[in-house]
């Protein structure tokens, strides 16, 4: 366990040190700042589109971060080393993904309320949106990890990573945006109304948690051959 904690901490540390965290959060804010200029200054329109836009921007910032998830380790030999750690490689992979989640995805979700205000979203809808993102984002990271692992040995494999991961992002975005829409329509009983959507998002995350580490570990092992 302390070894896995060290691997997770190391990933967070490097993600912060190399500016990945700052880059992803800046990307989110830049996109959100530019959107009103593209869509026009209509407050009602922005308000209606805001949850969907925030979901898409979150997904894209996450997708752009995937390329470096395993590639740096693959190129500098760290992956060889992680394979020789006397633990199940699947657990090592999970520790790295947890590090990625804590270092990158949580800061992104934490910036969503502020970014939402820039889009004129009602404050009352933010909790539902953030809850949906918290339920769905693990699936985004885990599915993205599969893409990153499959493309790890390809130079400039970022595009390939994104193409592999994208189909897995569709269900999460559909249910995430649906939860946001429902929270707009129901008002007071929001908690009850979006429950099923959060449940489905959490189920997608749980299923990815069960399957993705094995797929990622297998893909990385075969990449090293």
């Amino acid at each position: 366990m302390p070894i896995l904690a060290a691997i997770c901490r190391q990933h967070m540390h490097l993600s912060w040190r190399s500016g990945q965290t700052v880059l992803a959060v800046s990307f989110l804010f830049i996109a959100i700042t530019l959107l009103p200029f593209g869509l026009g200054p209509e407050l009602k329109l922005l308000r209606a589109l805001a949850p969907g836009l925030l979901w898409v921007v979150l997904a894209i910032s996450l997708l752009t971060s995937l390329e470096r998830l395993f590639q740096a380790d693959y190129e500098d030999g760290s992956l060889d080393r992680l394979l020789l750690v006397p633990l199940a490689f699947e657990a090592v992979v999970l520790a790295k993904l947890l590090g990625h989640y804590l270092a990158l995805v949580l800061p992104l979700i934490a910036s969503v309320p502020l970014a939402g205000l820039l889009l004129n979203i009602e404050a009352a809808r933010l909790p539902a949106l953030v809850a949906a993102m918290l339920c769905g984002s693990p699936a985004l990271v885990l599915a993205g990890g599969i893409g990153a692992a499959l493309a790890v040995s390809v130079r400039r494999g970022g595009l390939l990573t994104v193409l592999i991961a994208m189909p897995f992002y569709v269900p999460v975005l559909i249910f995430g945006a649906a939860a946001a829409r429902v929270s707009l329509e129901t008002g007071l009983e929001t908690g009850v109304a979006i429950g099923p959507y959060l449940g489905i998002l959490a189920a997608l995350s749980a299923a990815s948690l069960l399957l993705a580490p094995f797929a990622i570990a297998a893909a990385l092992r075969s990449a090293l051959r």
Partner: protein, 211 residues
């Protein structure tokens, strides 16, 4: 160098351990690299793998580390790689970390988190007083010395060293020799690929000679 010898004084590897390879073959990208490679290394012994460029020295070490599949042959014990250190061409160092952080991570990966003796290790490897220097700013030889820290921090019985003398100055080569001898004395095993003869090696394996 006396301090370095003492590094392994508390470590005692099993004296009956034997690492045996029989009829190993390696294929890379449909091209056979070598076949019929057999050897045995027992506790306290070092094997130097030699051969021309492309004869498969690095591939053999990667096979022993479990990073490459065997095209044929048997390795015993099967859990060989679990007890091995593999130092290859890619050093696994992170340019964005300092020496102190790198050593702390090495210690954490080895499963002891206290890190109290790390300054001591740095001093013995000739990296004293550079704790806060970034790995990005180190020379190739200094990076090599830093990778040697893993061998010291996490005592594992089998060392797989790929060109251990690369980029090292005379003192650095002497350092590797001293580390290796201390490791062998405590019952460890070493398999090293090298172009020049290694003075700590007991036996040599020549790859690609039959052709």
């Amino acid at each position: 160098m006396a301090e370095i010898e003492n590094l392994f004084s508390k470590v005692q590897h099993s004296r009956d351990a034997v690492c045996r390879a029989e009829g190993l073959a390696c294929v890379r990208g449909a091209m056979p690299v070598f076949e019929g490679v057999s050897f045995a290394v027992s506790s306290g012994q070092a094997l130097c793998v030699r051969g021309a460029n492309g004869s498969g020295k690095s591939s053999l070490l990667r096979q022993l580390a479990g990073l490459l599949p065997l095209a044929a042959g048997v390795l015993t014990p099967p859990e060989l790689a679990r007890n091995a250190h593999y130092l290859g061409h890619a050093d696994g160092l992170k340019a964005a970390l300092t020496i102190a952080e790198t050593l702390a991570y090495d210690a954490a990966l080895a499963g002891h988190g206290d890190g109290s003796a790390l300054g001591d290790v740095a001093m013995r490897l000739g990296l004293a007083g550079r704790d806060w220097q970034f790995v990005a700013d180190l020379s190739a030889g200094q990076k090599r010395r830093l990778t040697l820290a893993r061998l010291v921090i996490d005592p594992r019985p089998l060392w797989l060293l790929d060109e251990p003398m690369t980029a090292l100055d005379d003192a650095g080569c002497a350092l590797v020799g001293t580390l290796a001898k201390a490791h062998l004395q405590s019952g460890g095993m070493i398999i090293a690929a090298s172009h020049e003869a290694l003075d700590f090696a007991d036996a040599e394996l020549l790859l690609g000679s039959e052709a």
